[in-house]
Amino acid sequence: MAVATELLERDSQLAELARLLESARGGEGRIALVSGEAGIGKTALLTRFTRLHAREARLFWGACDPLSTPRPLAPLLDIAWTQSGQLAGRLTAGASRETIFQTLFEELRSPKPAAIVVIEDLHWADEATLDLVKFLGRRAQRTTALLVLSWRDESIGADHPLRTSIGELPREVLARIPLRGLSPAAVESLGARTQRNTEGLHAATNGNPFFVTEVLASEAPGVPPTVRDAVLARAARLRPLARELCELASVVPSRVELSLLEAAAGTTFGALDELLGSGIVSAQDGSLAFRHELARRAIEDALPPLRSRELHSRVLLALRARGEEPEPEQLARLVHHAAGAGDSTSVLRLAPAAAEHASRLGAHREAEAHLSLALRHAAELPPRRRAELLEARACECYLIDRMQDGMESCSAARALWSRIGDRIREGNCLCWLSRMAWYSARTEDARRYCDLAVEALETSAPGPELAMAWVTRAALHCSAANAASAIAFAEKALELARALRNAEIEAHALNMLGMARVQLADERGWAVLEESLRLSLEHGLQDAAGRAHANLGMLAVEERRYELAAKALDEGIAYATGRDLGTRRICLYGWRARLMAETGRWAEAVEDAAHIVDNPGCSPLFRLTALTPLGLTRARRGDPGAREALDEALELARQSGELERIVPATAAKAELLWLSGDEAGAAAEASALIERARQARRPSYVGDLAVWIWRGGGQPPPPEECARPVALLLQGDWRGAAAEFKRLGCPYQAALACAESDDPDAIRSALEALDELEARPAAARLRRRLAELGVRAIPRGRRAARREHPFDLTAREQEVLEALSLGLSNGEIATRLFVSPKTVDHHVSAILGKLDVSSRGAAVAKARENRLLSPAPRETSSK
């Protein structure tokens, strides 16, 4: 952002960047994260770096907007502007986001010549730009590019979306380059050049280079207390006309074209030379920029409110004079100045169009901000128009998982439609309200809204809105474990959807029908679910496809069909990630976390859960879906925080009132109590819910609770009401139960089943399995049990530290390597490990990289050579 003057004490950072560029040139793309406070010299460093390497690498440079609502993909617009290639053409032709991203990627892909891609000021990034960063980040290794991302540390709080985006970048290509202040010696040398006394300067500025030079240039006596004071002191020395021009320029974020400034300034423009001479601003490529965004903000913030409005309206007028129809990518800029000028008419004309543009590019957060702004100026609008704006905002809120705000807008829209007398639009709003209430774990409200929606819509001729309301009612019946009623409404909706030839509603209705059948143990349900998914994918129905993946994955986890579950969830996550369906993606992570927890993959479980739990704005329903496996995993590893996570999960689950949420949370809590030695507590916890589970006639629910009643010494329900492995256990067949759990892919539960025997050998082998899983509390219970049985030689458990792998392979990669050595194909490995072939493909490339070989055969040979393989091929597919 700052225009470079000096560059002191940045040699090591320049060397690090040069090293990263070298590996990028060799076909291994890299990402450098340059962060530091405002004015620390990020732009100066990157400007110097790119100049030094201008001959050997192509340069792509873009910056994010400091507009109140940033333009979608602002950095890409910068890049396209400077590149004559296809990118600019695709952007102006309004190509889809995927095409635009892909075009840039093709430009950087090996073996193209090396490139430096700078994306500056990510703390201001719009949502679509953050998606671009993730998109490029995931593909970095296949490029010859060094991607440099910069941001201000102090501008990204704990819940800033940038944190999540950075967290998702592949670690192996990342390098962090934090910038700190200059040393006292460097500050002194800067002062010496201006012949100024630098006493106290380093302490006051913390060595911030921008602050230091600003103080030195202000020529004011002493050191001003803040950088803002230093800037204002310097501007105060301008003569009136130059000062006026400076103030006008300050209301235009980042930089202002000279032609625009001239049009807005009128005669004041004559003071340009004086302003440039002051060094506060500089001109470059026909634009004028402040020496630093901090300086611009200091001057803008000091403007009295009325003066600021007047300046904004002058800029708005000048922008308007450029042509009658604004370019879509200029809309955000126009909105910014219209809002600054307090010009409601312009805001109402521009903001909805800006929202539509942002939404189309997947910048839903920005779309929501534009619509909110329009609504603040909408008091005078006719009710119909206002209701439409409210509905549009509710829809954006739903997409970015801000259900509370979405419901507020939707309620207001509903009230307006009701007053206007449009029952269909009112019913449609009620249907949305029902869905959002459900995501907020407010099941009672969801039911009430749905009833009202059906009531409103049944008075008019049957249309898509009514069919959707029936689908919503079927979904609520499914969640309430009331499958028979769900089937009735799903079938009605299906019939109407087919009569209306509406594939989207047909897909939703099939989904509900399949789900209800599976809940009734009707095997035909699975095929109906697959059919719903196929139909959604075929017609490109994003919402329906998301729902189909999620419900298929969820039911498969519940019914312990982990292979099917892994496939549906992996594919669903890939689908949602590629299309930026945030709400769906988060929901899928929650179910995959549970899948991982039940199949003994603790690290993966907590990683999936973290996507949700670390996101403070997440809907209660998603939070709860993730908290249960997180708490359960903590309990099984003996980590702190298990009780807190499970208590919160239980509270949210009870609030939702839905069995599908309450059963897993309750079973997990019972297990935690049992592991901590409170057996009666475990039985009591599970017993309190068992009658509800029995009434729902879901053997998986009954079994999950029954096992803790039984282990806790309570009175379990009849075995035939429980899912098979638990039924065997309850009948005293621990061996059969263990085999069944093992076959299903649950090593932890298999070990716990063996622990029920009186045979020390069986317990010993269970203990070994638990030690291998690092399930400390359960292992401790088994050690006590062996002692009770009078066994003297109790294995002490492995003393960790065995984890270190000579080639740094993860446990999972080691498993894949073993499978490779058996000559299995990716498909076969995928089936064994319950993952998708794509995931296996990922692991295989990681293995080849770490072993530094180029083929699977070579990997196996090298593994044999280095004794990385188990002596005999292993029988089990999961550890």
Binding site: R171, V606, G638, P640, G641, R799, A800, A801
Partner: protein, 90 residues
């Protein structure tokens, strides 16, 4: 941020050389920790160097395990703790 006591065992003994390479090892740990918001406060090592008791500030126990895996450090047990000061009542 919660504070944790992390117990580790080193079957072959823990040895960090008292020179530049030891410093580099420790600083590497610090850098890798910071990526997950984990701060290593201090550690106590048993006389035989087979066990260590480490005090950490971290956002969650998962963050501790994640950084431990990256630093190739074993984890036996994680306990959330609070400071109890003997002179608190004076």
């Amino acid at each position: 941020m919660p504070r944790y006591l992390v117990e580790r065992s080193f079957p072959d003994g823990l040895s960090i050389p008292m020179d530049a390479s030891g410093e580099k090892t420790c600083l590497g740990v610090v850098t890798r920790n910071s990526e997950d918001g984990v701060t290593w406060v201090q550690s106590f090592v048993s006389e035989d160097k087979l066990r260590s008791f480490c005090i950490y500030d971290a956002p969650s126990p998962e963050a501790i395990r994640r950084t431990a895996a990256r630093n190739k450090l074993p984890v036996d047990r994680i306990t959330q703790v609070r400071v109890l000061d003997p002179y608190f009542y004076r």
